[in-house]
Each structure stands twice: as structure tokens, then as C-alpha cells.
Symmetry: C2
């Protein structure tokens, strides 16, 4: 691991850093906002600053890494991390949640693990993309409530649903995304169950359900 | 999970809490010092205080849980968590690192995953115990340096070695510990390699090397 790119300050995006603490040298690329969240938690001090470089990457700036890959963050509608929620939660469009475009020459893909809404900017950005990894948290907005596993809707958690006329599957396929792979899938999402109606809908639309250990050639 | 007992404030003891954040109700038992470390990291706010109870447990106080198990923390020589190290590190005896005695009626065991030194109090506490889970981080004090995986000695990291005339194996067997199971074993420790001289020494002494999924009847 030579570079780590953070698109979000919530636990499922930053918690893994605590497993990279054994003196391995790498660079963390993230917005200033996300770096401030790391800095405000002393536990991330295990990533010794003499070994692990913190680099601020502002949305819209394309950076070429030593590996030859280029990365560019772009704002995605999202919400504040759960551990920083305080009172009413609104959807933020200022880039506190980001997607990342990764490119090498003419080849590129987008990684968008959390997205509250495909607004016009997001739709334009992803239109006709060869490959998009996208937020597959929930199938239906009320899924956590319906399964008795939570009290919040998906949109309240900053995740738009996959299914339905206003879900991400319809939006991304109609935006001409060539290859669509769902990631960041909650264990309540019925599209995980092979043979389920939701699983069949995803496959019939030509999309894919990501899995551990998946290798993708671009 | 109804109760979580913390014996130490370092990442390998508290990091797992971040995986228990999905609304499950339980109680965290720890010293005030460890609770303050959690409180000083906003990420642990994902454990909603309306659901996850923080209970201060002072060393030397025996607490019976609803399960019927009783727990008692006791001070163990240790050091400050890595992420809070600042300048010279000395071994602390004030209970910032703890062991825990777990009992049910006449049956009991000790869990001591980190220990910098078996001093007289620790030796007395563990003498003639039926079962002890003990810090198996390193075989030799200079193991990280010798294997090129680190620059610190074990004692500098707050972990006494297993092997040698002054190691934990000699100390605990001579203190009459009946069943000794090593846990918290670093991947540089050669006792993990079946058939190695160090592995054979552990088995010959009647001790055991803990493994994932191990089930113990007491």
C-alpha cells in the first residue's frame, strides 16, 4: 500500500487505518475536512507522522501518484459522519463526502461508496462512464425499518436506495454507465441473496454485485 | 454481547468497539482512565450513549454481571498507549493497564493480554491459578529488531518476553499456574510455528498457544 484515498470521514472509511499502524510508510490523501476529523481523534496518532504522510487533496484537483495512477476527488451529496451528528441532519453538497475518479491514460473508473442523491452534477460526472463502483447500502429506503434492524431511512443515513424508479440503478443505467458494480452493501439488502427478485433485477439491468477478493481488469 | 471489559486503552483493545456500533445494547466496563481515552476520541461516539452504557470499574472492585459472571480488574505493569506516547516511556504500575479475574462460584480464570513485567503483586495474584490467559506478544525481547520488523524491544512496548530465564513462561510455571494459554501473539513470535524449538518449549512446559475459535470449559 503506497497511497490511501479517503472519500468520507465516517468509521467504515477511516476505521481501517487503525489496522495499517505497524510502521508501514504510505500517504493518506483526503480533503482538509477529513484530515481534521482524523486529527481530532488521538487514536489515529498510531499512524506516526514521520512514516505516514498526510496530504490534503482538494476536490477538483487531479493528482498523479508515483504508481502512475491519477486521482481526483469530486463532491457527492452526503451527510456528516454518524459520530458527529448533532440535531437535525441535512444533506451536504459541499464535498465533505466525495467520490473519486481514478485514471491511467485513457482508462478510468469512479468509486462512489456513499451517495445521498444523484443530483445533476453527479449525473453529469458519471454519464457514459466505463466503470462505476457505487453505493449499494440499501435496496429500499425503508429497509432498515422494515427489517427491524434500525429506525432510520436510507436517505437519512446518507444513502440513496438501489431499487425503485428513483433509485441509483435506474439513474445510473439511464445516464449510460457501461459497467456498474455495487459496493458498500448492507447485510439487509436483499440483492445480496442469489435468486431473489432484487438480485435478478440487478443482473437483468446488466449491473453487478461486488464481492470480496474481486479482481477487475480495465 | 451484553458486557465488554477493557483492560487497556491501546488500539488492539478498543478498536473492536468500532465494529459493535450498529445499535446493539451492551455495557462497557473499564477504569475511569480508559473511559477518558474513549471519550477523547469522537469516533467512539458511534456507540450511542442511549444504547451503550459506560460503567467505571475501579481496580479491586468485584462486580457481578447479569450473566452471573463476576469480574475484577487488577493493576498490571504496563505502558501508555502508543498513540499517547510522548517522549520517554516508563513502565506504569498505577493500573492504567489491567488484568481481569473472571469468576463464577469457585471457578475462575485470569485474562492478562498485556504485561510489561511479572512483579511481586502480579506473581502473588496469579499464583496457583487454574487458568491464565497471558501476553504472548514476543518470544524474545529483541525479536522485532532481530526480524527487521521494528526498532523497539518488547519491554519498551510494554510486553515481557515468553522465553528465557526471565520470561513469562518460567515465571508463571514456577508460580504454580495450572493451565497457561498464550494470547495476543505477534506474528514474529516463533512459538506460532508448529515444530519450532520455541513451540516445543511451550508444549513441554505444559502451556498452550491460543487460537481463533478456541472453546474452553472450566
Amino acid at each position: 500500500v503506497s497511497d490511501v484515498v479517503l472519500t468520507n470521514g465516517d468509521i467504515d472509511h477511516i476505521g481501517g487505518l487503525l489496522s495499517l499502524r505497524e510502521g508501514h510508510a504510505f500517504t493518506i490523501h483526503a480533503t482538509g475536512d477529513i484530515h481534521r476529523k482524523l486529527d481530532s481523534n488521538p487514536v489515529f496518532g498510531v499512524l506516526d507522522r514521520r512514516t505516514v504522510t498526510r496530504a490534503v487533496l482538494d476536490p477538483g484537483v487531479k493528482l498523479t501518484l508515483t504508481s502512475g495512477l491519477a486521482i481526483e476527488l469530486f463532491p457527492i451529496p452526503g451527510k456528516v459522519p454518524l459520530y458527529l451528528e448533532d440535531g437535525e441532519v441535512t444533506i451536504d453538497h459541499s464535498g465533505k463526502t466525495a467520490g473519486v475518479e481514478v485514471s491511467h491514460g485513457e482508462r478510468r473508473f469512479f468509486y462512489v461508496p456513499g451517495c445521498a442523491e444523484i443530483d445533476r452534477d453527479t449525473s453529469r460526472r458519471l454519464a457514459n462512464a466505463d466503470l462505476v463502483f457505487f453505493d449499494g447500502t440499501l435496496w429500499a429506503d425503508d429497509e432498515m425499518i422494515a427489517t427491524g434492524t434500525g429506525t432510520k431511512t436510507g436517505r437519512r443515513m446518507g444513502h440513496m436506495p438501489v431499487g425503485g424508479f428513483d433509485g441509483s440503478l435506474a439513474a445510473l443505467k439511464s445516464a449510460g454507465v457501461e459497467r456498474l458494480i455495487y459496493v458498500h452493501i448492507n447485510n439487509t439488502n436483499p440483492m445480496l441473496i442469489e435468486g431473489s427478485p432484487e438480485h435478478r433485477v440487478v443482473l437483468a439491468a446488466g449491473a453487478e454485485i461486488g464481492h470480496d477478493g474481486q479482481v477487475i481488469e480495465l
